[in-house]
Structures are given as C-alpha cells and as structure tokens.
Subunit: 219 residues, 2 copies
C-alpha cells in the first residue's frame, strides 16, 4: 500500500499518520477558509516533518467564498456543547470530505499511488453525512471506478478508512500506545491560540484524551 492521507492536523488524522507512516507517501492538508485552518495546518506541517512524510497544502479559496457553514471564517459563531448534538450541524461544511478525497484520488493517480486514506470515526456519524460508513463505502466504489483503466477492475485507487467504526477515545488510546504527542495537534473550531474547551470538538477532545491530555484549555 502506498497512500495519500487527507490530513487536518487534528487528533484523529495525526494518529493515523503515525500508525500508518510506513504506507503513507503523501499527506495533504486543505486550506478551505475555516476558522481553525491556520493553526491546524501549522501542526500538520510539524507532524509531517517529524514523521518524515511529504506534505502538501492545497488552498481551496472558493470554499471560503461560496460555501455556507459556521465553521468558515465567512460564517457565524461556533456553537458550544456536545459534539454529536444537533446544534453542531451548523458546522457541517457541505461535502468537504468528498472534495478532499476527490483531490486526493487525483493526486494518488498522478503520483502512481494506489490508496487514499481518511480518519473519519464513529463519533462523526450522527452529524456529518460525509463521514458515515454509507458515504465511505459508496465513495470508495466511485473512486475505484473513476480511476485506473476502464474495464480493468483493481486498477483504480482504493479508499481506506481504518477508524470508520471505532470511537475517538479508541483512536486516542491507540495513539497513546504509539507515543503520539497530542500537544502537537489542534482541534478547537474557534481557532484561537488556546483550545476554548467549550465548543463541540473541544468537549469531544477532552473526553478522548481523559487521563493523558496535554492540552491547555481556556475553560
């Protein structure tokens, strides 16, 4: 397996980067105009340098300009509360994973790599439609058919999503065992210098890292 990872610089994809570092030829971060993009990407760079994985940052300015989501700088305030609750739905960025995976698939084929990877997990499923197992399976088929040679099954790019059916807590425990330094990851949707501790992703991060959390939270 030679893979392209879509890599945010958050807890989940950083764990994946280290767990599969031998198979990851390229990590790609996307600058799509979210409030926390700049900080995430700073950590993504640091981890790729540490892991010895080539890193690309691709700007997607059109998303900040035309897409509607409170996660974007162009959107409204970030809601506080539990990550899986309905009020977090304003932070959905329409078809974000579809866009990032599609670009990763094109890069994989351009560089002769056979796999694309993403770090979606079971806690994402209730709010984010482009993180569900149904989406992941259907998109995987679309990529297999839409790459490689026509009529040659197996010649296309594969989608691998190793955390699709485990929780963020399970990912964090795996990362702890691997020695991942979670102080070099960023989650807060508000994008401040310190994690706010109140938004959905901060609440979720606290739960996942409980007992070994190196994060400085404001609250």
């Amino acid at each position: 397996m030679k893979a392209v990872l879509i890599y945010s610089g958050g807890l989940d994809s950083t764990t994946l980067l280290y767990e599969f570092r031998e198979s990851i030829a390229l990590a790609v971060s996307f600058d799509y105009g979210s409030k926390h993009n700049a900080r995430e990407i700073e950590y993504a760079r640091k981890n790729c340098a540490r892991a010895g994985v080539r890193h690309l940052v691709i700007p997607l300015d059109f998303m900040g300009r035309y897409f509607r989501s409170d996660l974007l700088l162009s959107g409204g305030g970030i809601p506080e509360g539990a990550y899986d609750s309905e009020n977090m739905s304003s932070t959905v960025v329409p078809f974000r994973n579809g866009i990032m995976l599609s670009i990763a698939a094109g890069l994989a084929e351009s560089y002769g790599l056979d796999t694309i990877m993403m770090a979606n997990h079971s806690g994402d499923h209730s709010i984010y439609p482009d993180c569900t197992p149904e989406f992941t399976q259907a998109f995987g088929k679309a990529v297999e058919y839409g790459t490689g040679k026509v009529g040659k099954p197996g010649s296309g790019v594969r989608l691998v999503s190793p955390y699709c059916n485990i929780t963020k807590r399970q990912i964090a425990l795996r990362g702890r065992d691997l020695g991942v330094d979670y102080s070099l990851t960023y989650s807060c949707y508000k994008g401040g210098e310190h994690h706010c501790g109140k938004c959905g992703t901060c609440v979720e991060r606290k739960e996942a890292l409980e007992g070994f959390d190196p994060t400085e939270y404001l609250f």
Copy 2:
C-alpha cells in the same frame, strides 16, 4: 429540480445547458490548467449570458501544478487520431469529474439546490473512467449519502446525467433541434484560436456535427 451544472463550454454541456435551462440555477466552470481552458471558459460565459443562467468560474490551480496529464499546460503534446483510441489515454486528467462534481455538490448544498448535472456521454466510456455509467452511479450514491441530513434518505443532493447512455451525435442532433449555436462552443484539446481538426476531440466533433457544422477547422 434546481440544479448546478458542471459546464465546460464544449458541445455536450452547452447542449445540456440549453435543454435544461429552466432547471439550472447555476453553471460552474473550472479553470484547472488545461491547454484549452481559457477558450472553453470564454464560450461558457457567452452561453450562460445568453441562456440567463448564473455562471461561476472556479480556479483549481493545484491541478495544473501537481496533476499529470497531457491535457494540461504542464503536460506533453496532444495526440491526434480517433477519440476512443488508446493513444488518447494520455489526456485523462485523474479523477477530474470526481473533483468537479464534489465541488458542485458542496455548492448545491450551500445554495439550497437539490441536483448536480454533468454531460458525460457513451463515447467517453472507453477511455475516461470518470465518465462511465459505473462511476456515475457510484458517485451519485456517494453524493446522496454525503449531503443532506444523516439518516434522512432523500434529503441529499442527486446526480443527474441525462446523456450518459447516448452518443455525441445524438446530443448534437438534439441541440440542432433546440437551435443551439455550436459556433459558440469549443472542443479542441490543443487550445488554439481555431479548432485543429486532427486531435481526438476535433475528430469526434466533426462526426457529431456532420451536415450542420459551423466550425472553422485548420485541417
């Protein structure tokens, strides 16, 4: 149906624009660094103005920079000969339709539209994997699952591909009956001021428009 069309400015998608103009709320062209992008987009603008359809042009600079294809300015020469022959495979742009459709899906959801459309046809199937019926069907499922509300079937965006199983000739005949002015469309992969008449898309265009072809070809 309120749709976003991925719109190149070529023969097929221009026919689709006019045939479905009542349902198309937005046409999107992508400037991805191909040799013929600038000319295609010029015609796309003209047709959208004529048809009264809002038009966006989205630059995808990373494709010209990182993707490998002879269709790109960064690639090698454009092969001549029949459109469906193996030597045209160097003009495949990896997962281009996946990328364009994904962005269209995100735009559709951002603007409250329910459908994305593309003008792939049966003559595309033998060389371009992201034009086949298998790809189209799988990608349509991925978009339905990956947009809308989780667990609410039917709330996602639909993919409609009305020409998927007809030929370019059949599209052109349909356009002729609709009164489409094909002098305001561009096909040549070489991107010159006049259609070269020798590359795969020019050969295919000549066959499709035979008997009512307004195009000036060099050869």
